[in-house]
């Protein structure tokens, strides 16, 4: 009996050994960043999502409760106010930081005597540790021994002392002032660096064409800085919306929740009450908006590139 023997050749890989080795090397080279990404971003992020759907308290494992924590938070008194406070501080703070930072950069971009000293001085608020800056501002605002009240009453500007941080209408403004003071140097120094990369010839050509200072600013400086502006605003929006120390130390969220922000609530729920499930749900409720911002800016930048 004749046996039919298949002499079909095994499939030959179209990838050469050298190419395969190169690919392996490539994967090995990106492996560290993948490991870092998984350990430092992927795992904590999805772990937080999971935690936000459990009733875990500190030291216990907790059970899955679905969206119960989110529903519970939405019923929380002043949740809308907390949302509003957080975004007011972030958006208003960033807007003012942008204006002040731009003014700082424009000033420091001009040649004048003592410019280097001024640059150093402008960086001071950024360099001072946040808790030191906050306690200093708290002292400035203080009712009994505060600098502002002492000067106002001492010079006759005011007959009575003012409780700045106890005033429900001013407390949020006090927080924003501190946020702006602490953060504007980052904007200023970023814009200054950007301005120094703008070719001088553009300004000279504009001047020849009769453009005044405003026109040069709006048609040359601002467009040239658009990437830096987007990046600084986005980063600062994320940082400022995550502000904790400044609010915690300056007002503690008061008076009557008028400066309550989501980071403070997360701390209270997670650390003070040890309810880590609910605490994880608070920042998760803010994530979609932040993610949306990141996507918008990323698309914008990719389009520009």
């Amino acid at each position: 009996m004749a046996v039919e023997v298949s002499l079909k050749r095994p499939p030959v890989s179209t990838v050469s050994p050298a190419r395969r080795q190169e690919a392996v090397q490539g994967y090995l080279l990106v492996l560290p960043i993948i490991v870092l990404f998984v350990c430092l971003i992927f795992y904590p992020f999805f772990s937080a999502i999971w935690l936000s759907m459990t009733d875990k308290t500190i030291g216990t494992t907790g059970d899955f409760v679905g969206f119960a924590n989110y529903r519970w938070l939405l019923r929380w008194p002043d949740f809308e106010l907390m949302l509003l406070n957080t975004w007011t501080i972030a958006f208003v703070g960033v807007a003012i930081k942008f204006v002040v930072g731009m003014a700082m950069a424009l000033l420091l971009n001009v040649e004048f005597r003592g410019r280097m000293i001024m640059r150093g001085l402008f960086m001071l608020p950024w360099a001072v540790p946040t808790f030191v800056a906050t306690l200093t501002w708290r002292w400035l605002y203080d009712y009994q021994n505060g600098v502002i009240n002492t000067i106002a009453t001492g010079t006759g500007l005011s007959d009575t002392r003012v409780s700045f941080l106890g005033n429900p209408d001013f407390a949020l403004i006090a927080v924003i002032i501190l946020v702006v003071w602490k953060g504007f140097p980052f904007f200023g120094i970023s814009y200054l660096a950007g301005m120094q990369g703008i070719p001088r010839e553009m300004y000279e050509a504009a001047e020849v064409d009769g453009a005044n200072a405003w026109a040069r600013f709006f048609y040359i400086t601002l467009p040239s800085l658009r990437h830096v502006i987007m990046i600084t605003c986005l980063l600062s929006l994320i940082w400022t919306s995550n502000t904790f120390e400044m609010v915690y130390l300056l007002t503690g969220g008061g008076p009557s929740n008028r400066t309550q922000v989501f980071t403070l609530m997360t701390y209270k729920l997670g650390i003070e009450n040890m309810r880590i499930g609910e605490a994880s749900a608070v920042p998760m409720m803010f994530f979609p908006l932040l993610a949306g911002l990141i996507v918008i800016v990323s698309r914008y930048m990719m389009k520009e590139d």
Binding site: Q144, S163, F164, G166, N167, T251, G254, N257, N273
Partner: protein, 454 residues
């Protein structure tokens, strides 16, 4: 580079260097795995005494001299008993609370720690405490029994999980000299209190009561809560499983706070920015006549302003229509963690017995400005001092924060929000009606309690 070095470098290729390094590392690793040999000349034949290590966390208080005594006592005990002690004691109570949260979650607890009384119920579900009922019973028998608030704080599900070391109470501090100038006596009821403050104050330099109107002011929450009890109101029933805040008594209390404490202008303008330090500062700098506070105010005055200290009258919280209530809290409870080895749990117990001995305890309690948790120490002469006698009395008869219910995780979570004060602020700052404020308080409380198996 000299010639010898140059020659060495030239002959040591990178591969050779890596080999040598790997060899050295392997040798070092192997060496580390080998048990250390007994040093020559130290009697290598005999077994060396096993090292006894103990990690203790303590926290700082408002009375640093007392802290020093406590820490010295712990250190002395360790030295005398050959214990290698790791003592962490540089942190304040709130920081300690945060630190313990991290330690519980990571499972990296010390052998024993000081715990603020209000945190015990929150920690309990994590099953971290060793049962110290036997030690508790021994100490109670030896020193005349624990006072009631200490017993209530230490006991959960019929067993004791912490050893209360002292009881802290908040009492009214009055400027006796100002009351005298105005022909007034120390108030015993809230009506007397409001009238006296209104009469004696002299705005804008001097206001009546240093009571905060800010959620960060835990002292004010305590004041308003005790006042609520005096009006017959409470957050929950005695069993702690039903919210009863929406009552006629609460309406009466809130109405009294708004129409008397607030509208008669006896609070300073900065009451809205008070925290737990501002009321102390305002009393100490002479801008308010009265504060409701633990002994920290008195401790500061004795050190820095003896004249004002002498002119300070200490009294209980004024009575409402249904009586007077003072608070009792436990500033220092000692816990032993069940994660500690059996030997270290035993060592921790030994240390606690040592700390309770009169030679150690009496000098500490004299400077700690707290009240003892054990009855034997009420015999000390210092309690004859009228300024301190009130603190002892309140420690014996005071009520815990969740009164009339025991402290539970649910009550701890609710009360951590300063909900009594929140009702007041809803009316004053947010201009809600009293009914709305109380209805919200009830909803919040029921919402929080609904999460727990009560």
């Amino acid at each position: 580079m000299n010639q010898a070095n140059k020659s060495f470098t030239n002959h040591l290729s990178r591969r050779a260097f890596l080999k040598a390094s790997a060899g050295a590392a392997a040798t070092a690793a192997l060496a580390a795995c080998v048990p250390a040999a007994a040093p020559a000349g130290e009697g290598g034949a005999s077994e060396p005494a096993p090292a006894r290590n103990l990690t203790v966390w303590a926290h700082r208080s408002f009375a640093p001299p007392a802290d020093e005594i406590l820490l010295n006592n712990i250190q002395t005990w360790a030295t005398e008993n050959g214990v290698d002690l790791e003592l962490v004691a540089e942190i304040e109570v709130p920081t300690m609370n945060d630190r313990l949260v991290a330690a519980i979650e990571s499972g990296n607890l010390p052998d024993m720690s000081a715990i603020a009384g209000g945190r015990i119920a929150l920690h309990y579900p994590a099953n971290i405490y060793a049962d110290v009922s036997d030690l508790y019973a021994d100490l109670a028998e030896e020193y005349g029994g624990f006072f009631r608030p200490a017993e209530q704080m230490a006991t959960i599900d019929g067993s004791q999980w912490v050893i209360p070391y002292s009881i802290d109470t908040s009492l009214m501090h009055y400027r006796q000299d100002i009351l005298d100038e105005n022909g007034l006596s120390v108030p015993t009821t809230w009506d007397e209190f409001v009238n006296a403050m209104e009469t004696a104050q002299n705005p804008p330099d001097l206001y009546g009561a240093g009571i905060g109107l800010n959620l960060a002011a835990g002292d004010a929450e305590n004041t308003f809560k005790l006042m609520l009890l005096g009006f017959g109101g409470a957050w929950s029933n005695e069993a702690g499983n039903e919210i009863v805040i929406n009552s006629e008594a609460t309406h009466e209390w809130l109405n009294y706070v708004i129409t008397n404490i607030w509208e008669r202008g006896i609070l300073p303008p900065n009451a809205f920015e008070y925290d737990n330090a501002t009321n102390n500062a305002d009393y100490q700098n002479g801008s308010v006549i009265a504060v409701h506070n633990p002994a920290s105010v008195l401790v500061w005055l004795l050190e820095n302003n003896p004249e004002m200290a002498a002119n300070t009258a200490i009294a209980g919280v004024p009575a409402g229509p249904e009586g007077a209530f003072n608070s009792a809290g436990i500033r220092v409870c000692w816990s032993i963690f069940n994660s500690a080895s059996e030997e270290n749990q035993q060592l921790s117990g030994d240390l606690l017995r040592y700390l309770w001995e009169p030679a150690q305890y009496e000098p500490w309690i004299a400077l700690a400005f707290a009240s003892p948790a054990l009855a034997q120490y009420e015999e000390m002469e210092m309690w004859d001092d009228p300024q301190r006698a009130g603190f002892l009395e309140a420690a014996k008869t005071g009520v815990l924060s969740a009164h009339p219910s025991p402290i539970t995780p649910a009550s701890s979570e609710l009360l951590s929000r300063n909900p009594t004060l929140a009702m007041v602020l809803r009316v004053i700052i947010d201009e809600w009606t009293m009914e709305e404020a109380i209805a919200e308080a009830e909803t919040v409380a029921m919402d929080i309690y609904s999460k727990y198996d009560l």
